[in-house]
Amino acid sequence: MLRTEEMLLNVGPQHPSTHGVFRLVLKIDGETIKEAKPVIGYLHRGTEKLAEDLQYTQIIPYTDRMDYVSAMTNNYVICHAVETMMGIEIPERAEYLRVMAMELGRVSSHLLWWGTFVLDLGATSPLLYAFREREMILNLLNELSGARLTFNYMRVGGVKWDAPEGWVDKVREFIPHMREQVKGYHDLVTGNEIFLNRVKGIGKYTKEDALNYSLSGPNLRCTGMKWDLRKNEPYSIYDRFDFDIPTREEGDVLSRYHVRFAEIEESLKILEQCVEQFPEEGPVIAKVPKIIKAPKGEAFVRIESPRGEIGCYIASDGKKEPYRLKFRRPSFYNLQILPKLLEGESISNLIAILGAVDIILGEVDG
């Protein structure tokens, strides 16, 4: 007798579109997903536990390896947490360098997301265009920190090195170039009918869902929630800059795409203002004790990374190592909604929905 049966399909841990070692156990009926169960932890390195045996400065390189696409924001969050506990005043020049590094990182992170997301949908060329500009940013950050991905650039109290001569001018030249390229990206992909058909109206959720699932970043803003920590709880010197929080109302994959592109534009705006206001001279690191000891107590800080709210909680008993360290890793939280979104979707949509969440497995697994 003819009959159909459900099939159990393992997507990942090795799969071209899971962006790392992420595994999804799917129950499928034909190509329709009945149930999806994410399995994570393949890249778990125990950063938080390791940090308990490390001095605060030693923790910074570990944060580089969490969200390895935008390491500057991770650098910042740990330094910011310690500085908050110790009450350190950061020199002007260091703040500007930090903000510039973070915003460049945000642009490069969104570029990488764009390239790989569109690659998942089957278009091969945009990835290479995205990498062309990302390469320029990586070169800029390389000149600043001496590394292309794992920067280890920020320190408690400031940054490790001052910018090399002419670096700020290079950033100034980069901004109009990037604006020009973003237009090109839109011409290449955004209007494409096939692309629109694949992303419009799929992976939809409401503002309430987004809040209930604790989503943040573009995944939250695509539902119309105007929430960006750079504006709502300004840290560093973000209150000095004039920029918008891009939002969309639809809450589908396409809206996330648009939010990320609009964020690139806003980051460029911030960079432009940074370059204008950049102080001529001054120290790049505050006077901090040789051995950094956070005072007894606890602190939680959160900032806006390209993927959402990244938080850092430190409990200190006054030693040079933290008693307990905890990161709120946005990719991990954003991934929670995935099983709900995938129910009833097809395999093709799975790729688009997963891609639009923008996960970095280093961050998911911690």
Binding site: D120, S346, S348
Partner: protein, 336 residues
């Protein structure tokens, strides 16, 4: 020339000549496949800010594909333990053999054609449909879930695109009054069918890209979704056979497009007829191939359900309307 041979008395000499000619054609096709792959990588490279192959065989990577094929031949041939062995071994052959068989009917010039049969076009479409069986077989016998999904997608896609493909060429057949490819070319003496049958051409071209399983219709092998689709378990020369079939079909389909819509070996303007027909054919054919390569580096992949919808709800009605329109216009013109 070949026609004369076909009609002559069978003999050792005739057989010998025919055999040598077939061998030459085989080599030409294999040469095309070799350099089509290189061209694809080069063209995509240029479009994607890369160099493409540039190490093996000089700065143009002229021997890159040769080296790749050698590597494939030397690779260990793995067959999954739980695979359906006979089917698994048979599948690449069934997928690949028809791709060569269809080429026999393509008239490359007015003299160079291997089998001038009355229903050449029908023959092409019928034989090329066999490849689907090989693909589904591969998907089923691999005992791999991704392969199965790919095989099923291939079956659905190829069947639903075969129909608009056939329907789209009916307009051409109506105008020519023949299914013979030679006569179709001869009928384009004054004006190419791409100009009289633009709708038919569009439907034909889209359906042919879908038949070729190329982006944006490469669902059966959708790398980012199904890893490699129906041939995910294949390696070595069996895998090479699938690839070979794919590129030979590209050769065949580009030739067919040239014959049906671009006037085959005929020159663009009649005063340019001092240039041999073979050159014209090669030029037009290369243009079609280039467009296929161009597609690949430009478009994202369409979704499975949208693909079916597009085939049945858009292409097929448009193709039918085209037939209707062609018939009416032809009838009206014959009145005056």
């Amino acid at each position: 020339m070949i026609q004369d041979l076909l009609h002559s008395q069978p003999g050792i000499l005739n057989f010998g000549i025919f055999f040598v000619l077939a061998l030459v054609l085989l080599l030409v096709i294999l040469g095309f496949v070799t350099y089509a792959i290189l061209a694809e990588r080069k063209v995509m490279g240029f479009m994607q800010l890369r160099y493409g192959p540039n190490q093996v065989g000089g700065p143009w990577g002229l021997l890159q594909t040769v080296a790749d094929v050698l590597k494939l031949l030397l690779k260990e041939d793995t067959i999954p333990k739980l695979a359906d062995r006979p089917l698994f071994i048979l599948a690449p052959v069934i997928a690949f053999a028809p791709s060569f068989v269809v080429i026999a009917t393509i008239p490359f010039t007015d003299k160079l054609q291997f089998a001038d049969i009355g229903v050449g076009l029908l023959y092409y479409i019928a034989i090329s449909g066999l490849t689907t069986i090989g693909v589904v077989m591969a998907g089923w016998s691999s005992n791999n879930k991704y392969a199965l999904l790919g095989g099923m997608r291939a079956a659905a896609q190829m069947i639903s695109y075969e129909i608009p493909l056939v329907m789209s060429v009916l307009g051409v057949i109506l105008l020519t009054g023949s299914m013979n490819l030679n006569e179709i070319v001869a009928a384009q003496e004054n004006v190419w069918y791409i100009l009289i049958q633009p709708i038919g051409f569009l439907v034909f071209f889209i359906a042919s890209v879908a038949e070729l399983n190329r982006i944006p219709f490469d669902l059966p092998e959708a790398e980012n979704e199904l890893i490699a689709g129906y041939f995910v378990e294949y390696s070595g020369f069996r895998w090479a056979f699938f690839m070979l079939a794919e590129y030979v079909y590209m050769f065949a389909m580009a030739s067919l497009t040239t014959v049906l819509f671009l006037g085959g070996w005929l020159p663009i303007f009649s005063f340019l007829d001092f240039i041999p027909g073979a050159v014209w054919f090669a030029l037009k054919f290369s243009l079609v191939v280039f467009i296929l390569l161009w597609f690949r580096s430009t478009f994202p992949r369409i979704k499975a359900d949208q693909l079916m919808e597009f085939g049945w709800k858009v292409l097929l009605p448009v193709a039918l309307a085209n037939i209707f329109l062609t018939a009416i216009i032809k009838e009206l013109l014959s009145l005056f």
